[in-house]
């Protein structure tokens, strides 16, 4: 029981899970779940009490019982006590103060990351303003490698997302040409296929591999299909670089996605054994998003942001190359408008980085949310200023397969120009070789006979 008296009103919260939910900045998903604060004052009362909770409490009291949930078991069993030692005497409020101080250097933040549980990260984020989330995220350094180096300071990568509603190879190749010319694709060239039939996916996988090999692009490919289908592809001898899966923060929600930790373990071993990375072996790609546990009716009364942070405990077990929150995809019943989407994205980026993950963001919205491209511009600028690892590159920001709007190839160029952000170094060198950037990484005017335009002919061969 947590209790505080403010003026003439006494606020009581029956347990830690309730306190966390009530302290969460407003969002529609927590309203839908019926767990949000009923007044502005109640929300601040909960924040005040949460600030006094010792970090140790999160090791002693689980929001979702250990016996009932394998994600909780993973969080508890993988906790690194040595990394936790420097912060074990702090309350949530002290932890915020320390994170913002000059004392909390990049090196120290890296050291403690495996001692921070999702609930600790979520709790401290709830008493941080947007600028706090940005300041601390920017201090965290997470570097991953497969065929290039992702996450170096002063750099930002982009996924090239060339989706097509009927998986048409020429349509996909055309979008790849467009994206590469604009300098996207150093995070991954990743297709969300419309189909889940193995023969179709094999064709897509071989197309990407052929393009990467023939043009010697220092990047990796991914077909974003279910993990079991990807294992099928591997068994068919497909050139699988990265294994993709959507994950969630509770066992029940993971089951809704048709996955478990043991299945992910098996898939991880399968893709790792292919050994296709040239300079590193980070070979997993995960996507997450606030609201998935609630939409699977598997949130156990835990707020959607805390459920999201729990995904990162699952992700970090596999040393992924890439993890991104698909922040506005789920719809207005979980994140209502541009303000809520922005807040959620900054929280996710902060929690992910603090826990040691290479967090990127699909800065996006659906047409039934109260958001537009201006909100995405704002969020892109905030996240890039906070050191986001990568963003999406979708032709003209309009994904014609998934029917939502994300960031475009142009948007990536905009933010590079505005903030002076460079590509992954190996990719930058490759772009220079193909005459697309100068020796300072600045984009050059396009020329008519650029060899890359010929990529589209691969399909006809």
């Amino acid at each position: 029981m947590y209790k505080i008296i403010l003026g003439h009103t006494t606020y009581e919260f029956k347990d830690l899970k309730t306190l966390m939910a009530k302290a969460t900045p407003a969002r529609s998903g927590d309203d839908l779940a019926g767990i949000s604060a009923r007044s502005m004052e109640e929300r601040v009362a909960a924040k005040m009490l949460l600030a006094e909770v010792p970090l140790k409490t999160f090791l002693e009291e689980q929001l979702i019982p250990y016996e009932k949930d394998e994600v909780t078991r993973l969080i508890v069993d993988s906790h690194n006590d040595i990394a936790f030692r420097p912060i074990r005497h702090l309350t949530v409020g002290d932890f915020r103060n320390w994170l913002l101080s000059d004392e909390a250097t990049t090196e120290k933040l890296s050291f403690i990351s495996s001692g921070i549980t999702p609930e600790m990260a979520a709790a401290v984020s709830k008493i941080m303003r947007n600028q706090d989330l940005m300041t601390v995220a920017k201090k965290c350094s997470v570097i991953t490698k497969f065929r290039n180096t992702i996450g170096l300071p002063g750099r930002m990568s982009a996924r090239l997302q060339p989706n097509h509603p009927t998986d048409d190879l020429r349509g996909i190749a055309a979008s790849i040409v467009d994206g590469l010319m604009y300098g996207c694709g150093d995070a991954v060239i990743g297709i969300n296929p419309a189909s889940d039939s193995v023969p179709t996916l094999l064709k897509l996988n071989h197309l990407l591999d052929e393009i990467i090999c023939r043009y010697e692009i220092p990047t990796q490919s991914c077909i974003l299909t279910h993990v079991t289908t990807c294992i099928d592809l591997i068994n068919h001898g497909a050139p699988v670089d990265l294994l993709f899966q959507s994950i969630a923060g509770t066992q029940g929600a993971m089951e809704e996605f048709g996955v478990s930790i043991s299945l992910l373990d098996e898939a991880y071993d399968a893709v790792k054994s292919l050994n296709r990375g040239t300079i590193g072996d980070n070979c997993m790609y995960f996507e997450t998003g606030q609201g998935t546990a609630l939409s699977a009716s598997a949130n156990h009364g835990v707020d959607e942001q805390t459920c999201e942070a729990r995904c990162y405990a699952v992700a970090r077990r596999y040393n992924p190359l890439l993890v991104n929150t698909v922040v506005g995809f789920i719809g207005p019943e979980y994140l209502y408008d541009g303000k809520q989407i922005t807040r959620a994205a900054l929280e996710d980026h902060f929690c992910g980085k603090l826990m040691g993950l290479p967090l990127g963001c699909d800065i996006c919205y659906t047409n039934h949310a109260e958001a537009d491209q201006d909100d995405m511009d704002n969020l892109l600028t905030l996240l890039a200023s906070s050191g986001i690892t990568y963003i999406m590159g979708v032709p003209g920001a309009d994904d014609i397969m998934l029917n939502y709007q994300s960031t475009s190839y142009h948007d990536a160029l905009y933010i590079r120009n505005l903030l002076g952000l460079k590509h992954a170094p190996e990719f930058e060198e490759w772009l220079e070789k193909f005459g697309l950037v100068d020796n300072n990484g600045r984009t050059l005017p396009f020329v008519h006979d650029n060899r890359l335009i010929g990529i589209s002919n691969i399909v006809n061969e």
């Binding site: 349509g171 996909i172 047409n367 039934h368």
Partner: protein
């Protein structure tokens, strides 16, 4: 100075020299650029598409107008509403859009419908625009199939602030074996008026999504009315013959070429 300031066309707009690749995809490629930004024309084209998609969601549902159009086809209809009282509530409370309002429940109690094989619901969903545009032309193609299959149809229900699962509530209260809900899909930028059809056999409140079959992207630029009607009829007939719908009913209506399948179908019916 004024010479240096003279602005040429190349300075204000850079074309992307792979414009011929546009023939392979509807994706927004080869848009050109100005600095890192979109050319004015492309920015405005995107704005127009987004505005249309937004308007499609917020366009008020007009059941009276649909009722009139159905009457002119000689089809009877009734108007109901979900428990979501307005568009905002509908968007943030998916649970309320899945059940009838108290007023509609009382109306159905008084209506006391005795039952039929099929209940067709037209629900606004996320795009009234889609429903206004596509539902009646689709029904013109679809209804003759049911007549040939000797399946009886309840009066068509026009349902306001409706999610897919509202059909379960309606069909249960109207004692129908199978519900087909025609509903406005979430609008994309290139498809603000796309209609979806969900078929659920032996339906009742609390049916799972995996118990339904779906035919989506119904619009002249996507799945045509003729093909959609054929697919829906094929699924309904199959559902009645195996006694279930959902994941255990595989949509094999595309196995033959459309023409042949349709002809076979008519042959089988006659």
């Amino acid at each position: 100075m004024s010479d240096e300031l003279s602005i040429t066309e190349e300075q204000i707009l850079q074309h992307d020299p792979w414009e011929e690749l546009r023939q392979f995809t509807d994706a927004r490629i080869a848009l050109g650029r100005t600095g890192g930004g979109l050319p004015t024309k492309e920015y405005l084209r995107f704005s127009l598409d987004h505005a249309r998609a937004r308007d499609a969601i917020h366009e008020p549902f007009n059941p009276e107008w649909l009722k009139g159009r159905l009457e002119s086809l000689g089809v009877e209809s009734i108007c109901l509403e979900s428990a979501a009282i307005d568009r905002h509530t509908f968007l943030v409370r998916p649970d309320l859009g899945k059940r009838l309002s108290q007023k509609s429940i009382e109306y159905l109690n008084g209506y006391d419908y005795k039952g039929a094989d099929i209940c067709i619901v037209i629900g606004d969903g996320l795009s009234s625009k889609a429903v206004h545009k596509q539902s009646v032309p689709l029904l013109e193609e679809l209804l003759p199939y049911f007549a040939k299959l000797h399946l009886t149809i309840a009066p068509i229900v026009l349902a306001k602030q409706s999610r897919v699962a509202l059909g379960d509530d309606i069909a249960e209260r109207m004692h129908c074996k199978c519900v087909i809900i025609l509903i406005g899909e979430r609008p994309g930028l290139t498809s603000p008026d796309s209609l979806g059809a969900y078929i659920t056999y032996d339906t009742f409140r609390g049916r799972l999504e995996s118990d339904r079959n779906c035919v989506s992207n119904i619009r002249p630029e996507g799945l045509s009315y003729q093909r959609a009607a054929f697919k829906i009829a094929w699924l309904v007939e199959s559902a009645f013959s195996i006694g279930k719908s959902g994941i255990s009913l595989k949509d094999n209506s595309d196995d033959l070429t459309l023409q042949t399948a349709e002809m076979l179908y008519y042959q089988k019916l006659s």
